[in-house]
Every structure is written in C-alpha cells, then in structure tokens.
Subunit: 344 residues, 3 copies
C-alpha cells in the first residue's frame, strides 16, 4: 500500500504545511470515518467544526483550523482532493507485461511492452501503446492505434481504424467506430452509404459506459483532447469536438456537428446535424440545439436559445393560464363598455 | 415439462375452482391458440365470448363464465397470469453446479454451489451466491458479492465492489460500477476525481439491457429492493432509490439524487443532480425534473411540475397563436376607440 | 484489391459514360485526394471547379464537365456514390468456412457453410444462414434463426427465439430479445410478467450500436424489412414497424406501438405505449408522441403535433414575454380610461 508524507502531498497539491509534515498518510477518507492514517478534506469553512472533531491525521483545508492535525492549506480544496485521491487510487496501469492465455492476438499486432491484456481480449492487426490495460472481452479491430497508458474496461469494442491518444479511459460497453447512420433513399428504400472514415480520440479523453462514437463517412470523427464523456453518449459520423469539452449522460450529437473548445453539454442534450458551436458554450440538460451557436454563453430549451431568455419564456408559459383568464376578462370589459364594432 | 393440476394453480393464485380441479395443465396460452392442455386468461368481461369459444382446458377469469372448461375465479387476473406464467416459465436457476471450461475464475473467488457459470465468464476475487446463473461473457470484478439466485444475462459487466441482493436479474450489456462522472476544473482542464465508492443493488431488482449504474464518488450508489429498471437507464454516482420504484426506458438520474419509495418514472425522464423526490411520485415520460419534489402525486413537463397544471399550460400554448390574434384585434379596437395615450 | 472498369461501374449505377470506359478504377476518393486510380463524385454543380482540378481518373457527375477524366453521368449522384462505394467496400461476407477454435457452439446448432464465426462466439441450439459473419464475443441463444449473409459485429447478444432475415447487419453491443418491461402491481410491489414472445427482424434491416429490442410479452416484437436503426434505439415489447422505416439515435418506442411503412423518426423521439402511427409519417428529433398519428406528414413537439402548427406555437412562445408586457400596458390603459368595474 502506498504511503506518503504530509509534506510530499502538500508538494503534490502546491499547498502550505501547518504542523507535522513528516506524518505518514495511507489514504483519503471523509471527515467522519477518517483515522490518524488518513487525510481528510474540508471543502468549505462551514465544515470547520466537523473537521475539528475528526480523527484524521491530516486535513486539506482552505483556512488554518488551529487543530492538532497536520494541515495543508490550499486555495482549491476540490482540486487538491482530486490529486491526492488519484495518488492513492491511481487508474490501472501495466507495469509487468502480461497477456492472458485466452486472449486472441493477431500475429502482426504490435504490443508495446509492458501491457496487461485480459481474458478473452481480441486484438486485430493493431498497435497497443505501452502501459495500457485492456480488460476482459475487449475487442480491437485491424488498424487501430492506441497510444501509451490507455485503460479499456471490459467489453469495449473498437472497430477497425480507430486512433486513440495517450491516457485515454474507455468504460465498459462503449463502441467506437461503428458505421455512421448514412443512407441514400431511392424511392422509399434506404441504400447504405459505406462509412469509409475512421475515428480519432485525443489524449486524456475519458469515455463513459455504453457510449457510441461512429466512424466518419469520409474523413474521421474526432473527439478532442481532454474531452470527458459521461455514459450513454452518442457521437454521429464526422462530429468534431474541440479540447476540454464535457458531455453529460445521454448527449446525442448528430452528424457533422463541429463543436468548439471548452463546450459543456448537460444530460440528454440533442443537437441537429451539421451545426457549429463556438468555444465556451454551455448547454443545459434536456435542451435540443436546432441551430448554430455563434456566441459563447449559456443556452437552454427546446429549441435551445439563450438561457435567461428561455427561463423568462418558461415563466411566462407558467403564467399563461392566468394571463388568458385576465385577457378574456379584459375583452369582456372592453366589449361591454365600448360600442360594438361596426358590422362588415 | 412441468405439469400442474388446476387445483394447485388455483392455490398458487388464491383463486376458487369451478369444475374439474384435477385436470392437468401444461402451459399458458392466449384464448385463440389454447388447447385442452393450456390455461387461458380472461382479462376482462368483454372477452367473455372469446373465452367461451376457446379450446383451453382451463380459464382464469374474474366471473363464472358457465363454460365446460375448468375455471379459476380470481379478483386480479393480471396478477394471476403473472404468477401462473412464471410457474411455467421460471427464470433460469442453477440446480446442478456447472462451470464452463472457458470461464476464468480467480482462485480466491467463492462460488457457492450449485451455480451455472457460462462460457467466457470472468470472475475476480468475488462471491457468487448459490443458485445464480451467469451467462456467456459476463465479467465480475474483485470484491463483488452476489446473493443467491441471481440471473445475469450475457455480456453484463460488474466493476469491482458491487454488492447485489438475492434474485436480482440483470439483462445483457448492462454495466454496474463504472466510474461516476466526477471532475474538478482547473482553468479549462478537467481533472478526474477518483470514484472511491461502490454500488449496492437490493433484493429482487430487475435491470434492463444496456443500463449503466455508476459507482459512488465516496459512499455507494444504491438501488432499493424490488426496483425495476427498463433498458438504457442511467444512474449517476451516489443516487439512492427507495423500494418498489420503476424507471421506464432511457431514464437518466443525475448524481446524488435521492428518490423515495414507490416512485415511478416514465421513459426518457431526466433529473438534475442532488434532487430529492419523496415517496409515491409519478413522473410522466419525457419530463425533466429540475427541482425537488416534496409532495406525492403526478408530475410532467420540461421543467416538470404538477401534471394537471402542465397539461393546462400546454393547452394554453396550443391556443396561444389564436390568443395572440385576438389580443392584437383587441388592441386595435382599443386604440381606435380611445383617445391616444398622452405623449411623453 | 478489387478493380473495375469505368464502363462496368456505369452499368452498376445505370449511368452514361463520357470518355474512356475501359479505364481501371481501384477505389473511391474525395475530389481533393483522388488520384488516377480513383473515381470521384461531383455531388453538386457548385463543385464543378474542384472537379476540374481533381486528379481523379473518373468522375460521377450530374452534368458533362468537359474534363479529361472519364465521366459517368447519373441523375442521383448520392445514390451512385452509395452503390460504387459499397462495391469497393462491401460488408464482410463469409466465403471460406471458418469457426474460431475459441467459439462455443451447441452440438445441435445448424451452421450453414460457409460461415465466419469469430473468437469467443457462443451459439446455442440455433441456425445460422450461409454467408453470415459473427464477430468476436457474439452470443446467440437457443432457437434463434438467422437467414443468409448477416453481419453481426462484436459483442451483440441475441436471447433465445430471435428470428433474423437475410442480410441483416447488427452493430456492437446491441441486445435483441431481452425481456419486455412487464410487471403487474400488487399493492406496491411489482411482479414480473414472463415475456413469452420472441423477436422477428426483417430482411435488410440494419441496427446500430448499443440498441435494445425486447421480446414480446405474448406474440413477437417485429421490425419490418429494410428498417434502419441508429445507435442507442430502444423498441419495447410487441412493437411492430412497417417496411422502410428509419429511426435516428436514441429513439425510444414504447410497448405495443404499431408503426406504418416509410416512417422516419428523428433522434431522441419518444412514443407512448399502444400508439398507432400510419404510413409516411416523419417525426422531428426530440419530439414525444403521446397520441396516435392517423395522417401522413411531418410532426414535431412535446407533445408532438403537426410540425408547422408546433413551429407557429414556438414562435408565439418566444414572443410571449413581449406580448405579456403589451397586454399589461393595454390593461392599464383600459383601466385608466374606462370607468371602474361595478363593485360586487
């Protein structure tokens, strides 16, 4: 089990030590269940009393709590928690090369040692970067290229020709490179348009469980570096996303949509095809984007529009029944008091 | 093949026999295709004539039909159908212990005999309760605990540390225990927050195909006893549901949402994170819950509100174009008949 | 690698050759990257200049471009592209019989040679039609029947009793024949209703990745010939679709819904259960069908209604805040100018 001194954890999170920096810490815990071997986290000053009652050996905190525990003062406790917790609970990584005897690996596949290849993994004529872990039942098609230190959870499927950056994490059941939804219609009948492109996944992308990212029709579907996709997201053929985007569960991005950097979409968001979304757009959950977004900011609704505008409309809709009654009353008053309109 | 007398089926459904209770029945069938060896079901008095024409050897019925067939009188024919059909078509259950030779089982896994472990199943350092059936390609992580008589259909994935109650059914492609969607943002970049909790699934839960239930960030995600989840549902980290809930297909429950007992959500329902929903709430399909619900009843809409209120609003919206025309006409009349407003 | 003369490609697409029909073509390419061995596509007259600059050996075009390249004149370039691209990039098809040594095949399964059965495929007492390709990790239950030339991508699961037509394509992670979401409620508790029907998939159907199609409760769920389903679609028990339908990603079709021919549904469409939808209906993305549709045409909204009507309502909603202000102003004017209403 990893242990770490308070001082070295402080250095990891760029914090300042108050108290005993030589104390050994073995893991993270919440304030209530922490013991002397744990480091706890004071997310907010309002937890000051809970922190003082905690048995945690060390605390990460935004202010000096004047307790006996060793303290690490940081500006952003959430970020420090992420870094420390990841230190004690790192993602799996291959250190010793190991290919399970049930794995089926193409003789021309290039396996950069060390790798961990789990049971029933099937690898075509592909290249897998060193340090990567492919868990049970993963299927990797011909021509795939995974860079170093990827973590592919059980039963993920990569079709042929998928390029994956370094340190990419894919959760179970996700499918990358399935055919885009491309047909031409002749009379009533749909004829399949072969999907000849591939998929490119940038460095440090994490993809949730049971997502689908289709290959491009011609040219590639591209997910930008450091994108984070929640479960059950769908990216259609030839979508392109910028860097540092996040998509909550169930986001459905239609074909050829071009998304900028730092775009965040809530759960269940749908986009029409062939849209452009500029940088720094945030779309609230359940919205449907039916038009381009050419200005950064917050959007919401069906169809999506500026968030404040949509909220004002929704307020008006909630008051609409009352307004209608008031309108009918006013109409009657006007009718009763004014002379009748001239007959036509 | 199972056979059963009419009398014993009557006892199973707590019904009263009219006619020959010793008749042997071999299965259920609809009224039209039933033969003398079948039991048919008269769901409603309006099917009285069809029932009289049926060749079914026995009938389950809410009223005495005065036919030659043996009859079982019950108050709730739907419930009786469920029980009798389940008797003739039980869920799979391990009776003789059998582990397929292609299964990969950790040497420290505890397999409580009898079990049926199918081809290519991968089991880590886990405990599987007696009577359970794990079908082809299922993957069970370290530290998982399944109680007795679970049925896990092909290609289900349980990450490490998932606790599953007795008689739980999970359909194919479902993923339990994938990492929650937890990041902290530093400037533009998302940093992963390790997801240190687990998942607890209560007794008698059934989970549809291609669902995802994420592990908790700290502490567990919990699905209460006897919950029923349709296909493609998603439960984010640290959701907690009460008992006897049902979620139709595509429900997306965001993180840390606490749901009461006997809550029913329609298809495609989305909830915001950190909500509380009290007992006995029903949410119509396609709704988006953006706030707590603190009163039992029926809810609907985007955003969700009391159902009747939402329906009245929707009616007003449908009439809005007409209302607008009427308003403009009234405005003109007032303008034409009243003196102009004073100039500023 | 396949090569083909311009003349034979012209015959495939029923086009007219201008120039050298004997030229050999090895593949398709976009105008910019095409070389003399490629055939390019001029989708629109506006690409006339790009076409003239292209190094493509041949072009498929709607008009004579008077270039040195061989030309094939066609009325529908999109359709011609689909046919030519499919010729050079056909779906996989078994030519030489091959069953991977890791496949687990029931001794009473009927495998019509030639077939390609990939690693870790599990086949119960089923019949697989000649020419079909079952890729890694596919699981086929007892009683399934696949007609000729099906392509089943990795990790697809067919439960027992699923009937599949010829040339059906199923993408990874899709689950067919899982239990319908059928329960009866006794007091608060849901009791499972065994799902005794099966699933029938028509000829030439293509099903995207991570879809779910449930088996019928009694009687079968049926997907009509030539239907195309995008990723993450869900069809509940006893749905029936006509021929030549298309469902974009995330469509959720509730139980016992009967859909006509040539129906097209956009992404994220939800239907209530037990609906009927006539032929030639198109439903825009994000709509929720809560009632039968008995007239062909375009529908949209939540709840779905005639598309133009819905768009007019949405326009009125967007103007509602302004209208409310105008209404309040008018009310004040009327109040200030008319005598007060009589007191009660």
């Amino acid at each position: 089990m990893t242990t770490q001194t308070v001082a070295s954890l402080a250095s990891l999170v760029e914090g300042r030590v108050i108290g005993d920096g030589t104390l050994s810490i073995r893991g993270v815990a919440d304030l209530r269940s922490a013991g002397p071997q744990h480091i706890g986290f004071v997310r907010d000053v309002k937890y000051r009393d809970a922190a003082k009652l905690s048995s945690a050996g060390a605390l990460i905190t935004p202010i000096d709590l004047e307790t006996r525990a060793a303290q690490i003062l940081v500006a952003d406790v959430g970020l420090a928690f992420a870094k420390v917790a990841l230190h004690f609970h790192p993602l799996p990584r291959a250190v010793v090369h190991s290919v399970h005897k049930t794995a089926v690996v193409h003789p021309e596949a290039v396996l950069e040692e060390p790798l961990v290849i789990g049971p029933n993994v099937v690898i075509g004529r592909a290249r897998i970067g060193r340090g990567s872990v492919l868990m049970a039942g993963v299927s990797i098609g011909d021509g795939c290229q995974l860079a170093a230190d990827c973590v592919i959870f059980p039963n993920v499927v990569l079709y042929h020709g998928v390029t994956v950056g370094a340190r990419v994490v894919m959760h179970s059941g996700t499918v990358i490179g399935s055919d885009g939804f491309g047909y031409v219609r002749d009379d009533a009948t749909f004829h399949k348009v072969p999907q000849l492109g591939g998929v490119q996944i940038g460095d440090d992308v994490e993809i949730g469980a049971n997502c689908t990212i289709d290959r491009g029709a011609i040219g590639d579907t591209k997910i930008g570096a450091r994108n984070k996709l929640d479960n059950l997201c769908h990216f259609a053929h030839n979508c392109v996303t910028g860097e540092d985007c996040a998509f909550a569960a169930g986001a459905l991005i239609a074909g050829s949509t071009i998304i900028g950097n730092r775009v965040i979409m809530g759960g269940h968001v749908l986009t029409s095809g062939h849209l452009r979304v500029v940088d720094d757009v945030r779309v609230a959950g359940n919205s449907a984007l039916l038009r381009d977004i050419d200005k950064p900011g917050d959007y919401m609704g069906y169809p999506a529009q500026e968030k404040l505008r949509f909220l004002r409309q929704m307020k008006a809709v909630r008051e609409l029944v009352e307004m209608k009654k008031a309108f009918e009353a006013l109409s009657k008053r006007v009718e009763s008091l004014l002379p009748p309109p001239p007959s036509l």
